[in-house]
Homo-oligomer: 189 residues x 2
């Protein structure tokens, strides 16, 4: 399973990383069942997670304690609460598994060492951050102006696998739509 991570890195940084195995060894392998809490709002986020298998939900609670999902991240991607991870401040978001998962977690000291010993890995962090940012910008631009129906169409176009893979409730909270409304609108398509 570590090969998923190995491939992810060599695809981006090339095969000529002589200390790659050493770096990979610093990752902690985590097997998690469905619905496990990976990070709780208020705790510092100690790890960056690479998802080798499964799917994570990044979410907060609104004033009525409903979940609103900022992001859904699937295998072969990185997931963390980066701002807490890099500052050490308490996390403002929660993370949980929505499927059985296999994760590889790297903590802050190892992450620092990795970036210092091989400057190429510095790129990894920049890539994670830029990808996360791009995702956010995309989401804001799409969502601030779209109606509920158009958000669903947006999801069908850009992340169609989510529609078949996840519960309606979760998708609705990702789209910022009430689940009953989501159910009605789906029927109209």
């Amino acid at each position: 399973m570590i090969d998923v991570l190995r491939n992810h890195i060599t695809n981006r940084l090339g095969n000529d990383l002589d200390n790659l195995d050493k770096v990979l060894a610093t990752f902690k392998h985590i097997k998690a069942k469905r619905n496990e809490q990976i990070l709780r709002q208020g705790d510092p986020c100690k790890y960056v997670y690479f998802i080798a298998k499964g799917c994570l939900q990044v979410y907060v609670y609104d004033k009525d304690f409903n979940e609103t999902t900022r992001d859904i991240v699937i295998e072969d991607n990185w997931c963390s609460e980066l701002l807490s991870f890099s500052s050490g401040n308490p996390a403002t978001e929660n993370i949980r598994t929505v499927e059985p998962c296999e994760l590889f977690a790297i903590d802050r000291p190892s992450f620092q060492t990795m970036m210092e010993t091989s400057p190429q890995f510095d790129k990894v962090y920049k890539q994670i951050l830029e990808a996360s940012y791009a995702n956010s910008v995309y989401r804001i631009n799409a969502f601030v102006s779209l109606t509920a129906l158009d958000r669903i169409k947006w999801l069908m176009e850009y992340r169609p696998m989510l529609l078949t893979r996840l519960s309606s409730k979760l998708i609705a909270s990702y789209l910022g739509i009430n689940k009953d409304v989501f159910s009605r609108l789906k029927a109209k398509l």
Copy 2:
């Protein structure tokens, strides 16, 4: 006016940067009137702008050609379309001045040189990127679940100066609310 930028940098990186003046000299000083287009969607974003004075609007058009504003950035902050700037791809967003502005612009080659000659400046990019990302995450978490009225309250709490400084039309487009609705809701507060 360059001192605004000088202070911004020394506040973050300390006073002991011997090549600071050389770096500052690579910035281009731009004076812009109100309502000038700084970046057009489709063009590559060639600069990162430091706003010494004034205010910029980052926006896109929705399917009905209404503007939706992803961000409003005021003086003593950085503004760019970072993803285009760092990749060279066409920008997906527009930027314009909403007030008379004084900007300091740095292009990609100078930015690279700056980061290579003094690794401390590498931190600047990371800080810009992290701040931009933090801002986006904050905005998504706040906005996906909030009603129009609660978005206005959110703005009153976190960026109250915008309410007095900018037009209702602009604020409404930043909040993702129709301007007539914004006008009505304001009266209710």
